[in-house]
């Protein structure tokens, strides 16, 4: 196992020659092998990773590393296009698809010398909140194999393995199981923050317009953002600094000058005003998450911050609004998958229409198909105003709620990320994907509706020994302030590092790894 936990630490170690990039790469690849029962990776780019690590090593030898990420192992969700590396969206529709270009944010990582370990698992086309609906099988939560959880659960019946959250469950599990130092996810309704929360790591959803989506296979264009998953707030800030900024290939990125930043070690907490959105005590919030939320609010208050309760009155309609807008945009976005230009193509050749139909029948799972059908229903001529425009109006009310809260003097909002800690797979699958998404995205999607930045950090362990996390929601483009506050709380709560137990039992039913070795 790599002796360095944080990207910040390993960057220093690389610079000081305590560890070489190839050795670091080798250790992370070994860790991927040892934790492959988690099914975090769809593709492990072993050969390309070694080549990148060797190139990085040359730069260090010459004393000219590229930046803070040079030689640092990273992973990328398999819905970011990567030239020369299969990009599947965990769907049969794109199985075997090798994009001819690389997503801007991935290219920026590579340009900084980061070493790409592989592509991570997700719910098909990022539609889900458990990372269980993937053609490559579900992702398992590393905390289910931790001493912290195993020790607590030994006294009761084993409920089976735990979900990692989703849809970026592979990216979260990859970082949480120490196979890489940072990963990219995507966040449309909480897909980065949800698995980060359940896997006990930091998950940042940046402001809409700050990071390029070019090459991120779209789900909901008006909400999608690339997400950043790391083991510390400082690391998230470093990766954000590398990725942020205008991209001529994405017209929705803003043209403001963006500078990377370092987070201060000390902040004047007594000058802060913390907003507690009262509607975030939703039905179903677990008592332990409520206790952690209460505790965190008290920590701020005890440190001298002003803590006030605020109201975001349309919160409970946000998940409904999200449901409609998500389905409608999905219906539109998924029209591109017809078998002609890329991806899966049915053998049906009797007519173009029959080929389209058969391709989409064979390529999409029930969840994707269901959202396409619902979306088309909401967009029917007779329903367009009743559902689609209505949802867009409610979206305005939700965004205005945030504006009002911030203009009342609140610096940021503090709220739970999920209702509770990670569920066992057997429990989670008792409800369908749509119901689970409505529950799991309940606290996360409203930041996407308003385009605001939000970051989740783990607070404490539940009595079962699983992470409980909270999120901070900030004003648009105020990531530096948001992360500074998150870092302060991170320092106060001292969330423990995962202690993974590698047992033979873990490995028995490990999914088989594909190794794809084309160079970038």
């Amino acid at each position: 196992l790599c002796p360095f936990v944080l990207q910040l630490q390993v960057s220093v170690a690389l610079r000081e020659g305590q560890i070489r990039p190839t050795e670091l790469c080798h250790r992370c690849l070994s860790q991927i092998e040892e934790t492959k029962f988690l099914n975090a990776y769809i593709t492990v780019t072993e050969e390309a990773a070694f080549k990148q690590a060797e190139e990085s090593e040359e730069r260090f030898k010459r004393g000219k590393p590229l930046g803070p990420l040079d030689g640092v192992p990273v992973a990328v969700k398999d819905n970011f296009s990567t030239a020369g590396i299969e990009t599947t969206c965990a769907s049969k529709m794109l199985q075997g698809y090798i994009p001819p270009f690389t997503a801007t944010v991935v290219q920026k990582l590579l340009d900084q010398g980061a070493v790409l370990m592989g592509k991570t698992n997700l719910d098909e086309f990022a539609m889900g909140s458990g990372s269980i609906d993937s053609i490559f099988g579900p992702v398992r939560n590393p905390w289910g194999y931790s001493k912290q959880y195993r020790g607590e659960s030994s006294r009761r019946e084993d409920p089976g393995w735990l979900i990692a959250g989703g849809s970026s469950g592979g990216s979260a599990a990859a970082v949480a199981s120490l196979t890489c130092f940072a990963s990219l996810g995507s966040d449309t309704g909480g897909s980065t923050r949800n698995p980060a929360a359940l896997c006990g790591i930091v998950g940042l959803k940046p402001t809409y317009g700050l990071l390029s989506r070019h090459g991120l296979i779209p789900l909901v264009n008006s909400m999608d953002v690339p997400g950043i998953l790391t083991r510390s707030v400082d690391d998230a800030a470093t990766v954000l600094g590398v990725l942020a900024g205008h991209d001529p290939k994405d017209s929705t990125t803003v043209q403001d000058h963006i500078e990377s930043f370092e987070l201060p070690d000390e902040i004047a907490v007594q000058n802060l005003c913390v907003g507690i959105p009262k509607e975030y005590h939703a039905p179903g919030l677990s008592s332990e998450t409520l206790a952690a939320w209460t505790r965190a609010a008290d920590l701020f208050e005890n440190a001298g911050a002003k803590v006030v309760q605020v109201s975001l009155p349309h919160t409970q309609y946000s998940i409904v609004c999200y449901h409609v807008l998500c389905c409608t945009e999905v219906a539109s976005n998924m029209a591109r998958f017809d078998g002609l230009e890329f991806g899966h193509r049915s053998k049906m050749e009797s007519s173009t229409e029959a080929m389209y139909a058969a391709t989409r029948h064979e390529g999409f799972n029930d969840v994707v198909r269901g959202r396409i059908l619902s979306g088309n229903y909401f967009l029917l001529k007779q329903n367009y105003e009743r559902y689609f425009l209505k949802a867009q109006k409610v979206r305005h009310l939700i965004a205005n709620d945030f504006l009002k809260a911030f203009s009342s003097g609140v610096d940021f909002l503090l709220a739970p990320t999920t209702l509770s800690d990670a569920a066992p797979y057997l429990e989670f699958t008792k409800e369908d994907n749509r119901t689970r998404s409505a529950q799991e995205d309940i606290f996360t999607q409203s930041a996407n509706m308003a385009g605001l930045p939000a970051v989740t950090i783990p607070l404490t362990l539940s009595t079962r020994g699983l992470p409980i996390s909270l999120q901070f929601i900030g004003r648009g483009f105020q990531e530096q302030k948001l992360l500074s506050v998150a870092k302060w709380l991170e320092k106060v709560v001292k969330f423990p590092l995962i202690e993974l137990e590698a047992t033979a039992g873990n490995l028995q039913d490990a999914p088989k790894h594909k190794t794809f070795t084309s160079a970038l």
């Binding site: 994009p99 001819p100 809409y208 317009g209 008006s222 205008h246 017209s251 929705t252 803003v254 507690i276 509607e279 005590h281 939703a282 039905p283 677990s286 008592s287 209460t294 965190a296 008290d298 920590l299 006030v308 409970q316 309609y317 409904v320 409609v324 219906a331 029209a335 193509r345 049906m348 009797s350 229409e353 080929m355 389209y356 139909a357 058969a358 989409r360 029948h361 396409i372 059908l373 619902s374 088309n376 229903y377 029917l380 425009l389 209505k390 949802a391 109006k393 409610v394 305005h396 009310l397 429990e427 749509r434 529950q439 509706m449 385009g451 404490t460 362990l461 079962r464 409980i468 106060v492």
Partner: protein, 193 residues
Amino acid sequence: MPCWGPRVVGLRLGVKLASRTETLRPGFLPRGDGRTAGSWRRWRHRGAPLQAGRLGDEKSHGGGSKVPQTPTWQAVAESNLPQKPDVTLQLIDHLERLALVDFRNQEGVTQLAKAIKFADRLHTVNTEGVEPMDSVLEDRCLYLRRDEATEENNAEVLLSVARRTVEEYFVSPPGNIPLPKRDEQDNLLIDPE
């Protein structure tokens, strides 16, 4: 890209519905009290409160906290919601033609009815005088670049990811052939299972 307008055609429904007049009656919404029932019920509620000291030694404010200690959501009265949606066979047919995906089975149809029922909660929100929100960047100018080619001709690269091409063309099966009618479609789709 193909045109997704009037040219799109229908698909076979995976299972037969009982009759043409049958409608589906979903039972999805929570009972009148939205706090505890139905869809919001969580799989687990038994966790004990956070152990004191796990986060540090600060005194907790307990009852004086700004964090509400009970759920704050308003129950959505069933009576305020529209009638249960009618998912008719005709509607299913129409949607399958537009979406170019099939419902596959009864479960798919039930899911649609549930999705509509869930969406209907929007109608309890007063949106009078509110403009629809297309983009969160509505207060900014959208970046427009010059209408000039920025990349070299990459037709070859793009064609390389298609399954069937001839010279510089994507190859499709014969066009302008409508899909057979529902009762003639039984063998149309190759089921992967």
